[in-house]
């Protein structure tokens, strides 16, 4: 075997390696729509994604260095917070809404249950500053990061400047979160012909298309718009959703439509986490709708599902669980970084 041949092999391997890295950072199947996020403004790079991952898991973002993004957005819950109906912040403060799951964020036009945030880059400002979440200011976060040997190194590697800025901190957080793509559920495998639905799942899929798909639109399983889904007002919270931001009556009781992907990992359900089981959710949509002026047009007439239909529908919904995503090691706590001697600097 000649030297030439070895070099050729090495080059090809190198190219493949490069190609794999490209795929790893952000990739999605053909049948997904074009992302909303403008990657030209914040091109993904490995060092920036790594920085974002460290920031996501580091309680340095909170005022008393106790709460990280991952405290309420755990990777094993598809980045939601299982068992907690309302989010849980510093000093055991309890918020007013359920921490939503984080995945496929590149396809979302607005953020938060009420759509208060217009861009992924600026989303982190809300939990960082909220007194019942992290209770910190972005200016002080940046100050702490500038004083951390770990982050001086990581910002230098990512941005060529060891000093953190608000812009870079937020953009790095976006970078990591953009890589959280869930597209490997059984549904996805069926979609590309690598698996097939059982008879029951197929029946559930048919019911889903008829009754659910106009809001929880496949393949993302949300159209990411806002709707009043007929939940009665919880008088301990008096949350009117999007109205609280726009103050326009047409927005009263409108909340962001969540994706149904990974739903076994993301209970409890709804903006206030009022339902613990999928059965309760189906019961709500079939017999529990509270009618008010802004109710979604799809819910004006009752959805009728027999008990067999419900079983079939749930069988289909379970095919939306993406175990590969939930247990993907690249999304996990970066132990090597944050548990190093420089990590968790107080």
């Amino acid at each position: 075997m000649s030297l030439k041949y070895s070099i050729l092999v090495l080059i090809s391997l190198g190219c493949m390696g490069f190609y794999t890295i490209e795929l790893k950072l952000f990739d999605y199947p053909e049948y997904f729509p074009v992302p909303e996020y403008n990657f030209d403004e914040n091109p993904l790079e490995e060092a920036k994604v790594e920085l974002g991952r460290a920031l996501f898991y580091d309680p340095i973002l909170s005022k008393d260095n106790t709460i990280s993004c991952a405290s309420c957005h755990s990777p094993y819950n598809a980045f939601a917070h299982t068992d907690h109906d309302l989010s849980h912040g510093i000093n055991d403060e309890i918020g007013t809404r359920n921490a939503p799951a984080l995945f496929n964020l590149a396809w979302q036009k607005s953020f938060m249950w009420d759509g208060a945030i217009n861009h992924l880059d600026v989303q982190a400002l809300a939990p960082i500053s909220h007194p019942a979440e992290m209770g910190e200011s972005i200016a002080n976060v940046v100050n702490k990061l500038q004083n951390s040997a770990l982050y001086r190194k990581m910002f230098f590697e990512a941005y060529g400047d060891s000093l953190a800025t608000g812009e870079y901190t937020l953009k790095a957080l976006s970078q990591f979160q953009l890589t959280l793509v869930s597209s490997n559920s059984k549904y996805d495998k069926v979609k590309v012909g690598k698996d097939s639905f059982t008879v029951q799942e197929q029946a559930g899929y048919t019911l889903f298309i008829k009754n659910c798909n106009s809001c929880h639109t496949e393949p993302l399983f949300s159209n990411y718009s806002f709707a009043n889904n007929g939940l009665s007002i919880d008088t301990t919270l008096n949350d009117y959703g999007k109205w609280g931001i726009s103050k326009q009556s047409k927005d009263s009781l409108l909340f962001k439509i969540p994706s149904l992907r990974n739903l076994s990992y993301t209970y409890p359900y709804m903006h206030d986490g009022r339902f613990k089981k999928l059965n309760e959710v189906l019961k709500h949509y079939t017999t529990g709708i509270s009618h008010s002026k802004t109710i979604a047009k799809e819910l004006k007439r009752p959805i009728i599902l027999s008990s067999n239909d419900k079983v079939d529908l749930i069988a289909f919904l379970l095919t939306l669980n993406d175990k590969d995503f939930v247990f993907d090691p690249k999304n996990k706590f970066p132990r090597d970084i944050l548990m190093s001697s420089e990590g968790f600097k107080k």
Binding site: N38, E41, N42, A116, I117, N118, H119, L120, D121, V122, L125, A126, I128, S129, H130, S137, I138, A139, V142, T165, G166, E167, Y168, L170, K171, S174, I245, S246, K247
Partner: protein, 239 residues
Amino acid sequence: MTKTQVHTNLMKSLATSIGLCLALLYNTLDLTAQQQISFVPKLYNQPIIVGHKYFLEQQKDSVQIDKLQFYIANIYFYLDATEVHEVAQKHFLIDIENTSSLELNCNLEEGINYNKIKFDLGIDSTTNVSGAMGGDLDPTNGMYWTWQSGYINFKLEGSSPLCPARKNEFQFHIGGYQAPYNPLQTIELALTKGNLSIDVNIEQLLDQVDLTQTYKIMSPNAEAVATSQLFLQLFQQSK
């Protein structure tokens, strides 16, 4: 050519070069003086000192300014109704406590007596929906809302016994970008020869709002938009 002649020629060209350099340097210095515009926050023609007490002539009580920050954006200079110069830097954060921020580098050409300036007070909607930005637009500057996306265009904080609030404090955070509550204002000012200093007359705001009623505006709403109308009278070429 003798050796001495060569030497003299060399000295001559050296002197010319030095002269040229000095002239260039002088020109550059001179240009710097012309390149910028400056903002001077005032109350009744007095430059505002943060923490100092002033008497409000209309409402007959004292007032103290603790914070004044605002965005000046999209600056254009005109010559006889024709736009002749667009300032390269799009957004400037003016902060009364940061004196260097009161001088805006506009890269103006020397020797042109512009007779009109136009600028936005605040941040346009496109910039507001474009994600995290740096420099004067970095959210660490305290001019970006966190609970709802949007820049604060104008922030004025202080106190007056007129305000029935805790510590008699008032807070005007005028911002946002979404219709119907977009408080962005475009200001046009006539300029007379050679004077590029602009007063920011805060009494045009404080005399026009009733501080016993209006002392806390911190969201994009109708009150914020109404208050932003007063910004049109805020600016005046210094005398």
